[in-house]
Point group: C2
Chain length 502, copies 2
């Protein structure tokens, strides 16, 4: 997927500016801790943190891991400005040694290394997705920003994958949640990672420009209701697709409207003149992109009739109308009615173009309503999803955590008053074991000093959390789930290779 | 609230850069509609949209309106870059007239006027909060961005107000949701608007720098678990607050630990040496900012004992320890136990400083758990809230809409297949009527051509949605709810005056 020619470098620049995460965007306690490490002379001790989540989201069995490319960009640009440091001087407790601020000014991630699961991978609870090694104070300071970049990206990506599964492989899915996201950047993040999670399209134009995601959309109700009479239609003519002189399009459409109303037994007097004017005007502007929203007043009494009249006129001039959008009421029932009318029009007026018209449905679609929609008879080809997708209504946070597992080569562990909050100490390798058909059997977490499992050799392991239940497995293939992605301040990948995005 | 001296102008600049919303961050259909308006010569027709929400969030009776200052910044900077326009050229349907792209390049908000409810106001469902007037194509293009800027800001601000009400006026509230927000900007927005909604503190350092919000925080579990032995403590001495020679602080604390364990009948052998080392080290670094998290292993067997030992040693050197943080388990029960121990220490060791120690509770606090916490006996002084605050778990979107109400002086209306989605046509004035005690009686929506209500004069009106129920009211005072905030491309206010924020 590429942005328009010639502007790719500028899009990359704008991406990096718009998505720049200042290192001060973190919790204040990272600085008080960093100071305490520094004061004790421990700031450069080699330390390792790992990032994981404790439960798969949405009560499901998996998650997708996302946000890596943003993390790598953050690490590469990690540096405090003089203003940042002056601000910290003003809010850290009195008595903070001035030399600490000089130390902060020099900090970067040149001594930090990261291994990570590739962007967009299917992952499971409690598996370390990101391992961050480096000087204790530096890797401590990274905590909040990394969590912030991974948590929502992974959550919304996983949510998108669930919508994809609920929709089935055939139906196209469009993300349109910008107006309900957590502000501008939340919206951009949602567009980017729902595409990785399996959506086909976005309404978000900036996401299209910056990330090369296919964009779509035609009109809102406000466009329709802005018209009140046919006098507002201008120009009133349309040149046929194959060429020739301009045709009086209003006159042509009026003729078709009469025939459609007769065919369907509808009253032309109930047809909203403003709606007809809006459709006419849009079709004259974009004869090859005619896909109106048809529920501004009444689908059956006005919107559908106006659509058919304009679409039949377009067909007469050899244009291909695209379809309709339904945005309220019972989408399944209406889609059946709309499809029936399309077929009847083709039967009566011989317009085979009407067989390929698409029906778009958009009305507070949730994963559950999408699954229910699949159980009912319906004719919806494209589903647009906003609120429930981007806000992840069923579970609006993933809950990734970033835990210290090793300092100076010694494993570290947290116990906590809640047993499930205890951590697994020590550095770990994670292997994905595959069977002879290449299907995943399990993800195996080992201490990194343990030997890697071998293909064809059986091994015995404990399912996580069940220390008394042994399981034996013989993998046909063994892959390492995490890859080195950042070493000595440099990105080894942009994190997005695996999913074909920029 | 002011940021640190001298850097305020730079903070303002950074705010505007970080929070810049490119006008391309909108739905593609705004452009196809703008083109159809332009093609029909209607793009400069005077039009009016209004922004409102249909239901109060969280099943409650009110909302706070927020996001205005971001909207004004957006309007003032509204302009498409050449790259934006080139991108649109590549994605809009073939046949789009080239002159339209020249038109887009010239667009700004110099002909747009906005009236709005002040930032942070208490508002109600279906009341027009923002009225946007200007050329039809321009005010259409603004839709998605304005909704994106108002929706989450108002939602999270309202959520904060509900936490404030649940917490009662005495308890202090700290926002700490950055890691669970929808990415960096979502986190910054949450910090900003939860402060307006009634929170006292944030953990978000950047929000502190950019918006002057008081910041707080001391340590995480990783800091505690990074220590394993007293050998890691350095320096090992502390100079008394009042001056004098350095005291062997480890030795002093060890003495106090023995006395505390004896007092409480605890075993020193169960005390985690690493936890004691972590607290010691932090106290030496920040003797006036000692507020450790005490549940990294076990509050009663280790964390609380370590705290008391270090805090008693600090008191002996005339420092004032601050308190403790509890982050897991039953917060109420633990807070009672902690307070009891503090009182016992004071009784036994005569440390009146222990009477003013604070207890901070942070463990997946929701509005409901906060309300329940209030019903139980507890000793929690400060509550830190993250996930449930910033993701607004109970209702993660507000659902503001932006509807066309007038074109060329003629009222416009949408009917829809869902009756509750119908709009109220025409421009409106909104008045807040107050009684003789200055308490709000009702918000009155009138057509703008209707005469304003007068103080002392009774009036009759219909409660919204109930066209057959008349209500009579005599206001003692009448105020206009919306103010002019943007005229001819210029902000008349920065939107934040009312709440004392930058």
């Amino acid at each position: 997927m590429a942005t328009c020619d010639g502007s790719e470098a500028r899009a990359a620049l704008e991406r990096s500016v718009l998505r720049r995460v200042p290192p001060l965007l973190t919790d204040l306690y990272q600085f008080t801790m960093a100071y305490a490490y520094w004061r004790a002379g421990r700031h450069n001790e080699p330390a390792v943190f790992e990032l994981f989540f404790r439960d798969n989201p949405f009560g499901g069995g998996f998650s997708l891991f996302a946000g890596l490319s943003d993390c790598l960009l953050f690490l590469q640009n990690f540096a405090f400005s003089d203003d940042d440091v002056e601000y910290l001087r003003s809010v850290l407790p009195a008595g903070t040694d001035a030399a600490f601020f000089s130390y902060l000014k020099e900090l970067d991630c040149s001594a930090v290394s990261v291994s990570a699961v590739p962007e967009g991978s299917v992952v499971f609870a409690r598996v370390p997705l990101l391992e961050v090694c480096g000087p204790l104070a530096v890797v401590q300071l990274l905590e909040t920003s990394l969590l912030c970049l991974v948590n929502y990206a992974s959550l919304v990506c996983s949510n998108a994958a669930r919508f994809r599964l609920a929709a089935g492989p055939r139906r196209r899915l469009m993300e349109m949640g910008l107006r309900r996201a957590q502000g501008p950047d939340g919206g951009l993040t949602a567009s980017r990672y729902t595409y990785i999670g399996g959506f086909d399209l976005t309404s978000n134009a900036l996401a299209g420009r910056l990330f090369g995601i296919p964009v779509a959309g035609t009109m809102a109700h406000s466009y329709v209701t802005s018209f009140s009479s046919l006098e507002e239609v201008w120009p009133q003519t349309l040149v046929p697709c194959g060429g020739g002189g301009p045709i009086d399009f209003i006159c042509l459409v009026k003729g078709w409207l009469g025939r459609v109303c007769q065919l369907l037994g509808s009253k032309t007097s109930l047809v909203r003149e403003g709606e007809l004017a809006a459709f006419l005007s849009y079709a004259i502007a974009y004869p090859q992109n005619f896909l109106p929203v048809i529920d501004s007043y009444s689908v059956s009494c006005s919107g559908l009739l106006c659509f058919c009249a304009v679409a039949l006129a377009l067909c007469e001039l050899q244009y291909q109308p695209l379809g309709v959008r339904l945005d309220s009421g019972d989408l399944c029932r209406q889609s059946l009615e709309v499809r029936r009318v399309f077929k009847e029009c083709n039967k009566q007026f011989s317009v085979p173009q009407f067989e390929s018209l698409i029906i778009v449905g958009t009305n507070s679609i949730s994963e559950q309503s999408l699954a229910e929609l699949n159980k009912k008879e319906n004719e919806i080809d494209v589903v647009g999803v906003g609120t429930h997708l981007v806000t992840c209504t069923r579970q609006p946070s993933l809950g990734c955590v970033y835990k210290l597992i090793e300092v100076r080569g010694r494993p570290r562990m947290k116990m906590s008053e809640d047993p499930e909050k205890s951590t697994l100490p020590g550095r770990k390798s994670v292997y994905r074991l595959l069977d002879t058909d290449g299907r995943p059997q399990m993800d195996l977490i080992c201490l990194s000093e343990e030997a890697a499992p071998k293909a064809g050799v059986s091994l015995t392991c404990f399912p996580l959390g069940l220390t008394k239940t042994l399981q034996t497995v013989t993998p046909a293939q063994v892959t390492s789930l995490r890859l080195d992605v950042f070493t000595c301040g440099q990105m080894l990948t942009d994190g997005l290779e695996c999913c074909g995005l920029l």
